[in-house]
């Protein structure tokens, strides 16, 4: 019992808790910083590798209709689906999203990109059939002011008319007329989409913008479905009633036929099956693509031989990393041995030769190799001068696998030498002498006594070099040409050139899994706390 009456145990616990909290409080800022700036991006990338909202966001009505469609029946979807596609495409076209979706689906089925672009250009004509008929019927329908008066609520209309477009004030947000929304539900909803787009995305004055052709076809749909306009007395009621009487004789649009007119591919089952396959919000498509497979109506299947690319690339990355690791062991082992066995002063001097390249900028070393390995470079020049190779048959040392292997072996060699050195430093030289005095030959003494003790160093160095090399980007990009590049170069290509971010994310996720697996092994063998820097 302490003086204040608490037991010793509880006050000890309290002190311990305070200590823990203080430690966590010190760590917290950095932990949050790393979580936000680093872990969140990685999580975002993993999310992107399965994310697929673009299809259902751009074509919400179409994907809903396609849910019940059975592609195996061999029949194209219903006319209602085509009408839904018309509406979706129209909105997407106005918001300039249809090309993005086209390129997304083009990853899965070649030709969709041009199909969408072509359809986007011509989609406007399809709705103008109704627009023209309404406008021919009554000049009322031509004027945007009339539409606003008809569709908008009285309060909003007053606010919109009072608003000065040149002022800094924000345009009053559109509010629908409740009565019209009840009578003409589809028209009102479509008009709201239009108003929202004009006011918020286009940032133009709603009073000056003529409604989309889509609004006219919605109005036709509402009226031909038998909307009850008799009770409506608000603005434009006369025109509405006249239109109601006339719609029966309107020329109608055959959506499936119109789409076929734009491009006959719209009657191709494959196109619709692709849209249907990729309608869910999440997809394994990118991952399948990353291992040369693709989704088909019957499940996953391999891509045709001539489109297979990524498995080969993964194998090449692994194979070249192994070769690089192997040559690092071969070159690093003797150097590690001599550094560990020379007197300290000499060893420290030689260590500088190892640390200097380690500290030199990666770009400097890569540019040095680029300069040295060229056809007209220092190495070829020396070989020609010595007469080893003829002037007209200079060795191709760059822009192929040889270049990548030479340059990366050089760049990663210090990462092999340093762990080897620190392990070899702990092996007492007397063991070797003892083995020899017991009658072992040089080779036996090395192979049976020294080598087994140096294996942890080889393991640590190899995993380190291997992890670093499979994710390398800069050096293969600069000296690898086309045959000496790694999977990381493909990832970069998909991010910056082909813009297939989902595939880049899936390839990255696979690479990340491999690296984390190796890292786990490294932690088990060496322990992450034992990572040393600079000797």
């Amino acid at each position: 019992m302490a003086a204040d009456g608490t037991t010793l145990k509880s006050s000890l616990n309290r002190a311990l808790r305070r200590q823990k909290l203080r430690a966590l409080a010190l760590i917290a800022p950095l932990l949050i910083f790393v979580l936000v700036t680093f872990i969140a991006p990685i999580a975002d990338m993993l999310f992107r590798s399965v994310e697929n909202q673009i299809v259902s966001e751009t074509l919400p009505r179409t994907t809903a209709m396609l849910k019940d469609w059975d592609g195996d029946s061999g029949e194209i979807p219903s006319p209602e689906t085509f009408e839904a596609l018309y509406k979706d495409m129209f909105v997407a076209k106005e918001r300039k999203l249809h090309t993005r979706l086209g390129s997304r689906l083009n990853y899965e089925l070649t030709g969709v990109s041009s199909l969408f672009r072509k359809s986007g250009r011509k989609i406007e004509d399809m709705g103008e059939v109704y627009q023209d008929q309404f406008e021919d019927l009554d000049k009322f329908w031509k004027d945007s002011e009339n539409w606003n008066a008809l569709m908008g609520s009285a309060d909003w209309l007053a606010a919109q008319n009072a608003w000065d477009p040149r002022s800094e004030a924000i345009q009053p947000a559109f509010e629908p007329n409740e009565q019209i929304a009840g009578i003409l539900p589809e028209t009102s909803a479509t008009f709201q989409t239009f108003a929202d787009f004009v006011q918020n995305e286009d940032e133009k004055n709603l009073a000056k913008q003529d409604p989309w052709a889509l609004v006219y076809s919605a109005l036709y749909n509402d009226l031909s479905a038998g909307a009850d306009v008799s009770g409506y007395n608000g603005p434009g009621s006369a025109a509405l009633k006249a239109a109601m009487a006339a719609v029966g004789d309107f020329e109608t649009v055959d959506y499936p036929a119109s789409f076929q007119e734009i491009d006959k591919d719209w009657h191709d089952i494959d196109v619709w099956q692709t849209i249907q396959t990729y309608s869910p919000d999440f997809t394994s498509g990118y991952f399948l693509n990353a291992v040369d497979m693709k989704k088909s109506p019957d499940g996953a299947e391999m891509r045709p031989e001539n489109e297979q690319l990524y498995i080969k690339l993964f194998i090449r990355t692994l194979f070249m990393s192994l070769v690089i690791t192997g040559s690092c062991i071969l070159l690093g082992y003797p150097v590690g041995w001599i550094l560990a066995n020379l007197p300290a002063r000499t060893a420290n001097l030689l260590m500088i030769l190892v640390l200097l390249p380690f500290w030199t900028s990666l770009l400097v070393r890569t540019s040095a190799w680029k300069v040295m390995l060229q056809q007209q470079g220092v190495i070829n020049d020396t070989l020609v001068w010595l007469g080893v190779v003829a002037d007209d048959s200079r060795l191709a040392l760059i822009n192929n696998q040889t270049g990548t292997i030479i340059a990366m072996t050089h760049i990663l060699l210090p990462f092999m030498i340093l762990p080897l050195y620190s392990v070899m430093k702990t092996i007492p030289p007397s063991y070797l002498r003892a083995a020899k005095s017991l009658g072992a030959t040089n080779w036996t003494a090395f192979w049976r006594v020294y080598f087994p003790q140096s294996v942890p160093g080889i393991g640590a160095g190899s995993i380190l070099v291997f992890i670093l090399s499979i994710g390398y980007y800069i050096t293969p990009e600069l000296v690898g040409g086309t045959t000496g590049t790694f999977i990381s170069n493909r990832i970069a290509y998909h991010i910056s050139s082909s813009l297939n971010w989902g595939l880049a994310a899936a390839l990255g996720a696979i690479l990340l899994a491999v690296v984390l697996g190796l890292y786990w092994a490294y932690d088990r063998i060496v322990g992450i706390d034992n990572v040393k820097l600079g000797g």
């Binding site: 540019s367 890292y519 990572v531």
Partner: protein, 392 residues
């Protein structure tokens, strides 16, 4: 190192053939360059054997003989190929003079254990030559880049003028280009703006966290450590891809802040590792003693703890700095043209319009890294001395 074995002179039948063999190799190189390998081998072997015999058995005086060989082969080189060849010849002369007497006097035996067989002695030296070759491989690129950066032509190889040591073959024009070209100067300015900010962030957060991690009772220590170290483990291209996606979502892509944050994240593991390593040797009773004498936690930190761990903090900071200063993959994706750093400029230079100015920049960077390496090494020694871990 004291000699291990008493030495004695070796018989002519041993060292003359060995020198002849070495001469044959040298002759092969010179002969091939001149057009006839076989002739080169023969002349080299005979000439070197004769020289070795004459200097050791007839002249006998070591120092003058060796100088004579340097002079003789230097003149021979000058006759064959001018000034550059004269230097190569003189080097050959120096080597063969040393080699002949090294073998003749039996000095090669002095520093190896007396019980080794001749085969083992041979292996001992062969092994050293192999190691020497590997070490040369390690620094060749740096050695080649430096002289090439003074090239007067826009070539990436040694011009005949350079090989003749003609002053006209050398110039500072690539350095001049670096210091006057606005592209390079902008890139340098960006690097200088980004790296210190990123370093400051990672050092200040990292040091605090390292102190927290070194407390005796930290819950989830392993998991926290794994998260904090992860930027070093995850391949850069993956970090770059993730940051590109995420930062463009939140509007940081292509901004100065985005690049600084990304680089700070990459530098954090280095700060954590070096500072926790320094804190391992930190005596916690010192802080208790300070508290005992009335110092608050802040005073204790700045007056007691900080001076002791400062070497670790500075070398961690240098690691973070060099990480940011050298980094190209992440800035390539997270940055935009406005954040073009020096490595980025070098990268585009190497990929598109390859210009020798890159070599001048490379040389400057090598000099900077030598300076940094020296500072880190000095700090490491100092901190080990402070902790009483090494007598030096």
């Amino acid at each position: 190192m004291a000699a291990l074995t008493p030495i004695s002179r070796t018989p002519v039948s041993f060292y003359v053939p060995v020198v002849a063999a070495a001469g044959a190799v040298a002759g092969l190189l010179v002969g091939t360059a001149q057009g006839s390998s076989l002739l080169g081998i023969g002349i080299g072997a005979l000439l070197m054997a004769a020289l070795a015999f004459v200097t050791t058995q007839v002249a006998r005086a070591e120092t003058p003989s060796r100088w004579a060989m340097v002079g003789l082969l230097g003149i021979a080189g000058f006759v064959m190929g001018g000034f550059a060849a004269a230097i190569i010849g003189a080097l050959f002369g120096w080597f063969f003079g040393w080699f002949s007497f090294w073998l003749y006097e039996g000095r090669y035996r002095a520093y190896v254990a007396p019980y080794l067989t001749p085969g083992q002695v041979l292996w001992h030296y062969t092994f050293r030559v192999i190691c020497g070759a590997i070490l040369v491989f390690l620094i060749t690129p740096i050695l080649v880049v430096m002289p090439l950066s003074f090239n007067a032509e826009d070539f990436f190889t040694f011009t005949p003028e350079m090989l003749r040591f003609d002053p006209a073959g050398y110039s500072l024009k690539h350095y001049e280009d670096f210091f006057t070209n606005s592209d390079w100067q902008n890139a340098l300015a960006n690097s200088v703006k980004i790296a210190p900010m990123a370093t400051l962030l990672s050092v200040s957060f990292g040091t605090l966290a390292a102190i927290g991690l070194s407390q005796p009772h930290v819950p989830f220590r392993r998991a926290i450590m794994a998260i904090l170290i992860s930027p070093m483990i995850v391949p850069l291209i993956i970090s770059a891809a993730g940051m590109y996606f995420f930062y463009s979502r939140i509007g940081l892509q292509g901004t100065y802040v985005g690049v600084v944050l990304a680089h700070a994240a990459l530098g954090i593991p280095f700060v954590i590792i070096t500072v926790t390593a320094t804190l391992v040797g930190f005596d916690n009773s010192l802080t208790r003693a300070a508290a005992n004498m009335g110092a608050g936690p802040v005073t204790t930190f700045f007056r007691v703890q900080m001076p002791l761990i400062l070497p670790g903090v500075i070398s961690g900071g240098l690691f973070a700095f060099i990480t940011s200063f050298d980094e190209v993959v992440v800035v390539l994706f997270v940055g935009s043209a406005g954040q073009k750093t020096l490595p980025w400029q070098m990268f585009t230079g190497l990929r598109e319009q390859i210009s020798p100015t890159i070599l001048a920049v490379a040389t400057i960077l090598v000099i900077i890294s030598i300076a940094l390496l020296t500072v880190v090494e000095m700090l490491r020694r100092r901190s080990e001395r402070l902790r009483g871990m090494s007598p030096g």
